[in-house]
Each structure stands twice: as structure tokens, then as C-alpha cells.
């Protein structure tokens, strides 16, 4: 009953999306302009209906309704509550429903609150939004219905992949999806503004909170995903340039560029075409990401060719949206003037430079991710990994970080290099000193980590400079956001470089009682014994670790065995200090009865994720600052309108 209800609501929502699109499109013609009033309520109702459909699916998973195919294939009655809940979106159909849900709810929210834009542009935006969601409704209803019943209820569910039974991963996909969806809203705004030839600061201000919000969630999603890979895969790596990771990085890079160019458009009414273009690219990248992850093309091009239904569907959507948007862009770009001008030395120029560099990195990641698929289709499998991505992206990233150190202290429109001599000299001196120290104290170090260790402290100093000489209480929240965001990049860079330069690894076969030295730590294997969890059993090692002869801390790395479905997972144990992390893994028992233990000492590695969190916090502060200002303005205009009305009476 619940499943049928959910499906019915999904169909109704799809029908409403059609109405929203048609009414929105017709409302743009003078003859049928009266239809405009329909669009907002329909958008809100559509969001509500999909939310109910998604709630129905959650209900089915929480109650483990095994007559529903999706539940039987992905859940199990003995799973802990939180993983039953996460199981709702831990599969293809459920995750696509979640995508549509977030997208339609966001659309409803735009319809509810957006008042700054010209009404016409907003209607066009909502119509564009309906057009995007329609594709996803079609995909859900025709190619991946989450509510299909089984002819016979299954006796028991198949369970969830043990690797995914982790709290970090339970909330990783929703976070990224919110990010992707936020970019779809930004895309709709861009389409709306193109349709009504309304690309200007008002459009940028309306779009900015969505871009910021999307960017915060993408940042969090990538940071959390990286930490998850770090501690569950059991080998201490935090970024593999894996296609799935790249799929989430590409929208982030595009969103970062869009965010900055959006700020320029809002503040200075410059970079109009560029901003619209980036809006299209950012959404395209989230579609490419969805395509890569959801079509199965990554497992193998051949797997994709065997069952291409879903993949071709997403590919068709990709072609329609990106192609359509680019066509619209090509038709209308000539009507969008470039906007205000600026000098070579100006904050706009620095932002443009970095936008171009971000797009360069984006291009590299895109080519490196897609090229192996292309050669595989031609019959040759090649791999593109860190040895390619690291140096090639650094070619763009290093100039970008150097400009990033200077950009925020430059003035808008026109500036003189001589005015900011000190602001350039101080970070430059810090970088030079750091480079010298690294080369003298720690040589030999590879080039990239050494450069990272040199640039990071200089960038950290530079990121704080916009606050120098300001009244800190009167500094806008958005400025703090920028400072903290840039500082976060410096912190993360330092963590990455330090991990690359200073990690030490120790692999050892140990008997209980044996000790090993790993970096500054002395680790002793004390004992190994069995433990049991809600749906797993494990072998657990007791390891005592003492830092530089100090008091010992006890760690418990585990090797877990899951029953439904059967699978293994190592549960690494981490000891975090201010200056790094000790990483311990329990391997298998050798034939001589000794245990394979793996240890890493990774100096300052947590800074990678602290940095990511700081970047997201910076985004959050900026968002709060912007929204607070918008609300104030909204209240003020409402008050004025109210007074006028009263005086008129």
C-alpha cells in the first residue's frame, strides 16, 4: 500500500513538473502572461509530493518491507536502524529518488522565498528547473522505479555492502547530492536569466546563496569522503584520483570558479557571460559526475555496453541539458554585454586569473578521467593516476595559490602594485624562508611536497592580511568567510604536503609481546582476541603505543567479518596528536602464527580534513552574512511598502 502510494505521488509530482514547465513557458508570452500565477504554487506542491514519496521509501526501508524489490535487494532485517535508514539512498534507485526530492524541494523553496529577481526571470527559472527535474522523473519512473514489488515477498533481504555500513558513508552521498542539486538551481537561474535577458547583479545575488550552499556541501562531502577512504580502506591513502573521487571534485572546481565570478558580478556588474558560462559548466560537471557514478561505466566500459539502459538514459539527459544550455548560451551570449571594465592590476583580474586556472585543473581532471574510458572503448586499457594528475594539476594550482595570496588585498577596478608592496613581501618572505628551511633540514624531499610546505605557510599569512588594519567588529561576516576559507586551503595544503613528505610506514609480522618502532612511536602488540558487534564478528588487536618514550595509549584495530552479505573489512585504529596521526591496522595471521601488522606515522595529516572543514566553515559564514543582509533588506523594503500603504489610506 505504502509503495503504491509512493509511486502514485511520484507520478503526480512528475505531472506537476510538466505543468510547471508548460505554464512557465507560456507565461513568458504576453498573450498568456496570466498563467504566471500558477507556477509558484505548483513548484511548492511538487516539492511536497516528492518529499512524501521519498518518506514512503524511507518507511519501507525502516520496516524492511521485503515485498518491495529494492528493499529485498539492499536491506536486511538485522541491520542497525541507522543503516536501514541510510540503506534508502545506499542504492541506485533510492539515491536517484533522493536527488529528485532534494531538487524539487529546493525548487519549491525558491518559489516560496525568492523576491529579488524580476518576476519574469523567476518564472523562467522555475520553468527551467521543472525541465531539469522532468528528465530525472522520466529516469526514475521509466528506468529505475524504486517502488517495484516482487511477485513473492523475499524471505530475507540481501543486506548492505559492509564497506558502506559506516556512519561516515551513510551521510556522504546526501551531502554530495545537496551540492549537485544546488548547482542545478544555479543552472536554472542562469537559464532563466538568459531567457529573459536579465544577466546582472540582481541575478548574481539571487543565485549566490545557492552556489554558496552547494559549494559548502560539496566541500563537506569531498572532505568526508576523503576521510572515509582514509580510515576504512586500511592503507592510509586519502586521495587516489579515482574516477568516483574525480566525479565529485569536478563540480567542486567549477562551483569554486562560479562562486568567485558570481561575487564579481554581484559587486561590480562585471564578468556577465563568464558567470553564466560557469553556471552551465558547473551543472554539466555534476551531471557528468552522476553519469560516471550511476551508469556503471567505471566498472568497465563493457559492463556499460552489456546493460546500457540506465547509462544511455543519463547520457541522453546529459546531452539534452548541456547541449540545450550551450545552444541557448550561444544564441543569447551576444545579447549579454560583458559588463563593467577593469584594469590589469585589480581584484577582478586576480579573480579572472584564478577562475581560468581552476578551469584548467577542471579540464585536466576531466581529460584524465574520461580518456581511459575512450581508450578502453578502442580496445586498449590504460591507467591514469597520481603520477599524471599531481604534477599536471600543480602546473595550474601553484600560480593560482600565489595569485590567491595577493588577490584579496587588491582593490576593485584598478589598483597599483606599489600600494601593496608589504602585503606581497611578507608572504613571499615566509614562503622563501619555509622553502629554505625544508631544503636545509629535511632534504631529500620530492619537489611537489617541498613546494607545498613552502607555499602553505605563506598562503596562511596572506589569507589573514585582509583583516589587518580593519575594525574587526565591523568587518562583514562575508569577509571573515573569505579569510577563513582561504586559510582552510592553506591548512589543507600543508597537511597534504606534510603527508607526502614525511609519512613513515612500518609493516611487521608480530607475536603478542613484540615491539616495533614507527616514526617517533614505539608500538607493542599486547593481545589478540575475538569481539562481536550487532551484525559482525571481529578479531581485535590490543596495541600499546607510546610517543617518544612517553606514557602508552591503547589502540584497538579490528578485522571485521560481516555475515549478511558476507564480507570483510579492516577497522583501522587511529591515534591523533596535535602533530599527526598514528594509523594501525590488523592484517592476517601468517603461517608461522605471527600477525601481519601495518603502522603509519603521518605527521600533520589531520590538517587535510581540518582545512576542508575550515573551507566549509568559511563558506557558511559567507552564506550567513549574505543571507542576513538580504533578510535585512527584505524587511526594510517590506516596512517601506507597509508605511506607504498606510499613508495612502
Amino acid at each position: 500500500m505504502i509503495a503504491e502510494l509512493g509511486l502514485a505521488m511520484l507520478w503526480m509530482a512528475a505531472a506537476l513538473a510538466v505543468l510547471q514547465l508548460v505554464a512557465g513557458a507560456l507565461a513568458l508570452r504576453p498573450a498568456t502572461a496570466h498563467l504566471a500565477g500558477v507556477v509558484r504554487p505548483v513548484a511548492m506542491l511538487q516539492g511536497l509530493l516528492v518529499a512524501c514519496a521519498f518518506a514512503a521509501l524511507i518507511w519501507l526501508f525502516l520496516n524492511t518491507d521485503l515485498s518491495v524489490k529494492l528493499v529485498a535487494e539492499n536491506s536486511h532485517s538485522a541491520k542497525p536502524f541507522i543503516f536501514k535508514l541510510a540503506g534508502t539512498w545506499g542504492n541506485h534507485e533510492g539515491s536517484m529518488l533522493m536527488w529528485v526530492t532534494i531538487m524539487s524541494m529546493a525548487g519549491g523553496f525558491v518559489a516560496l522565498i525568492e523576491k529579488r529577481l524580476r518576476e519574469e526571470t523567476l518564472i523562467a527559472t522555475l520553468a527551467g528547473q521543472a525541465f531539469v527535474s522532468l528528465g530525472f522523473y522520466a529516469f526514475l519512473l521509466l528506468a529505475s522505479n524504486p517502488f517495484t514489488r516482487l511477485p513473492e515477498p523475499a524471505p530475507e533481504g540481501a543486506g548492505l555492502n559492509p564497506l558502506l555500513q559506516d556512519i561516515g558513508l551513510a551521510f556522504h552521498p546526501p551531502t554530495l547530492y545537496v551540492g549537485y542539486v544546488g548547482l542545478s538551481i544555479a543552472f536554472s537561474f542562469a537559464v532563466g536569466a538568459l531567457v529573459t535577458r536579465d544577466v546582472g547583479p540582481a541575478f548574481a545575488r539571487a543565485m549566490r546563496p545557492w552556489v554558496l550552499g552547494a559549494w559548502i556541501f560539496l566541500t563537506l562531502g569531498i572532505t568526508a569522503g576523503s576521510y572515509w577512504a582514509y580510515y576504512t580502506l586500511g592503507w592510509g591513502g586519502w586521495w587516489f584520483w579515482d574516477p568516483v573521487e574525480n566525479a565529485s571534485l569536478m563540480p567542486w572546481l567549477a562551483a569554486t570558479a562560479l562562486l568567485h565570478s558570481c561575487s564579481v558580478l554581484a559587486a561590480r556588474n562585471a564578468l556577465r557571460t563568464w558567470t553564466v558560462m560557469l553556471g552551465v559548466i558547473a551543472f554539466s560537471m555534476s551531471m557528468v559526475g552522476t553519469f560516471l557514478v550511476r551508469s556503471g561505466i567505471l566498472t568497465s566500459v563493457h559492463a556499460f555496453a552489456v546493460d546500457p539502459t540506465r547509462g544511455s538514459f543519463i547520457l541522453a539527459l546529459l546531452a539534452i541539458y548541456i547541449g540545450g544550455a550551450l545552444l541557448l548560451f550561444a544564441l543569447r551570449a551576444s545579447t549579454v554585454t560583458e559588463g563593467a571594465r577593469f584594469a590589469v592590476v585589480s581584484r577582478e583580474s586576480a579573480l579572472v586569473f584564478n577562475n581560468v586556472m581552476l578551469c584548467g585543473i577542471l579540464g585536466i581532471v576531466l581529460v584524465g578521467t574520461l580518456y581511459p574510458l575512450l581508450t578502453e572503448a578502442m580496445g586498449v586499457k590504460v591507467s591514469v593516476g597520481p603520477p599524471y594528475f599531481n604534477p599536471v594539476s600543480a602546473v595550474f594550482a601553484i600560480p593560482m595559490m600565489l595569485v590567491m595570496a595577493v588577490g584579496p588585498v587588491l582593490r576593485w577596478r584598478e589598483d597599483k602594485g606599489g600600494r601593496i608592496t608589504w602585503q606581497i613581501a611578507v608572504p613571499a618572505a615566509v614562503m622563501a624562508a619555509a622553502l629554505l628551511a625544508v631544503e636545509l633540514l629535511f632534504a631529500p624531499i620530492n619537489l611537489l611536497p617541498a613546494l607545498g610546505l613552502a607555499i602553505a605557510p605563506g598562503l596562511a599569512v596572506a589569507s589573514l592580511q585582509p583583516l589587518v588594519g580593519r575594525n574587526l567588529r565591523r568587518t562583514p561576516l562575508a569577509t571573515y568567510g573569505m579569510v577563513i576559507g582561504h586559510l582552510g586551503i592553506a591548512v589543507a595544503l600543508f597537511g597534504m604536503a606534510s603527508e607526502g613528505a614525511f609519512s613513515t610506514e612500518r609493516l611487521a609480522a608480530m607475536n603478542p609481546g613484540d615491539s616495533q618502532q614507527v616514526g617517533p612511536f614505539k608500538v607493542t602488540l599486547q593481545d589478540i582476541g575475538p569481539v562481536a558487534g550487532p551484525n559482525w564478528t571481529a578479531l581485535e588487536a590490543t596495541v600499546a603505543a607510546s610517543y617518544a618514550g612517553g606514557a602508552a595509549t591503547v589502540l584497538h584495530p579490528q578485522a571485521r567479518v560481516f555475515a549478511n552479505p558476507p564480507g570483510n573489512r579492516t577497522e583501522s585504529a587511529l591515534l591523533t596528536r596535535w602533530n599527526g596521526q598514528l594509523y594501525a591496522v590488523l592484517g592476517e595471521e601468517g603461517e608461522d602464527g605471527r600477525w601481519q601488522m601495518r603502522f603509519w606515522w603521518k605527521p600533520f595529516v589531520p590538517m587535510i580534513w581540518y582545512g576542508g572543514a575550515l573551507v566549509a566553515l568559511g563558506g557558511l559564514l559567507a552564506l550567513m552574512g549574505r543571507v542576513a543582509r538580504d533578510v535585512k533588506r527584505l524587511v526594510a523594503t517590506d516596512k517601506i511598502a507597509w508605511r506607504r500603504e498606510r499613508q495612502g489610506r
Binding site: V244, V356, Y371, V382, G385, Y388, G587
Partner: protein, 138 residues
């Protein structure tokens, strides 16, 4: 009947090594580091750029798969015997194909990978130059 039994036995005998492959104890240097830190560093750097063929997107330096263990053993013993890392990479590529190396080899098929960054750099220079020139005139 007897012939069938023999055939069956032969089949079991033949398939036994296959089934046992994953159960064999790991090769000595799969989970053991080389004694010389400089050599181990060299081996580690190479292992990080070789793909584990049985995993999804993992290098042999970070995989529990038995095959990755065997390859680690190969790399470490060859490094210990004084072979150059690039020679070992070539040997592995000959055996397993280009797929095994995360460092793309420059070949007729892969040149776009190396042309792309140059193209992007040129494009970036072009975009920036155009913009700055125009703004100067303004």
C-alpha cells in the same frame, strides 16, 4: 565408469592449484619491507604507481588482494636485486599491459593526455591575454 572417475580425478588435480592460488600464504615480501630504507623508499614509490589489477582503483601499495601482495613481492625482490624502478615497470607492462601502470606511457594512443595540458595552458594564456588587452584599452 573407471574412465569417468579418472577424468574426474584429473580434473580435480588440475583445478586444485587454481583454487589454492588465493589460499597460498602470501609471498615473503608482500608484507615485509626491505631492510635498506633507501631501497624500500624506491620500491614504495614504484608500488604507489602500479595498479592492483584485481581491485577497483587501488595501487598495489594499498591493497589486501593476494595478487597485489605477489606484485609487491616482485617489486621488492627486484629492487633488492638492483633493478631500476623503470625497468621493473616496463617488465610489468610487458606482462600485464599498459593498464598496470598509473603513469601513462607516451604512446601513439596516449598523446592527447599530454597534449591536453599544453592546450589548456595555451587556451588560458589566450583567454587572459584577450581580457587584459581589452581592459587596458577601456
Amino acid at each position: 565408469m573407471r574412465g569417468l572417475l579418472l577424468a574426474l580425478l584429473a580434473l580435480i588435480a588440475l583445478s586444485a592449484p587454481l583454487a589454492a592460488q588465493d589460499m597460498l600464504p602470501p609471498a615473503p615480501y608482500a608484507y615485509k619491507q626491505l631492510a635498506d630504507p633507501a631501497q624500500e623508499r624506491k620500491a614504495q614509490a614504484l608500488m604507489e604507481t602500479l595498479r592492483c589489477l584485481k581491485c577497483q582503483s587501488q595501487s598495489i601499495a594499498d591493497s589486501d588482494a593476494p595478487m597485489a601482495g605477489d606484485m609487491r613481492h616482485q617489486v621488492r625482490t627486484r629492487i633488492a636485486a638492483g633493478e631500476e624502478p623503470e625497468a621493473i615497470r616496463q617488465w610489468l607492462i610487458e606482462r600485464y599491459g599498459d593498464y598496470v601502470s598509473y603513469t601513462p606511457q607516451v604512446k601513439p594512443l596516449t598523446w592527447p593526455l599530454f597534449a591536453a595540458p599544453l592546450l589548456f595552458l595555451a587556451l588560458a594564456a589566450f583567454l587572459l591575454r584577450g581580457r587584459f588587452r581589452r581592459s587596458k584599452g577601456a
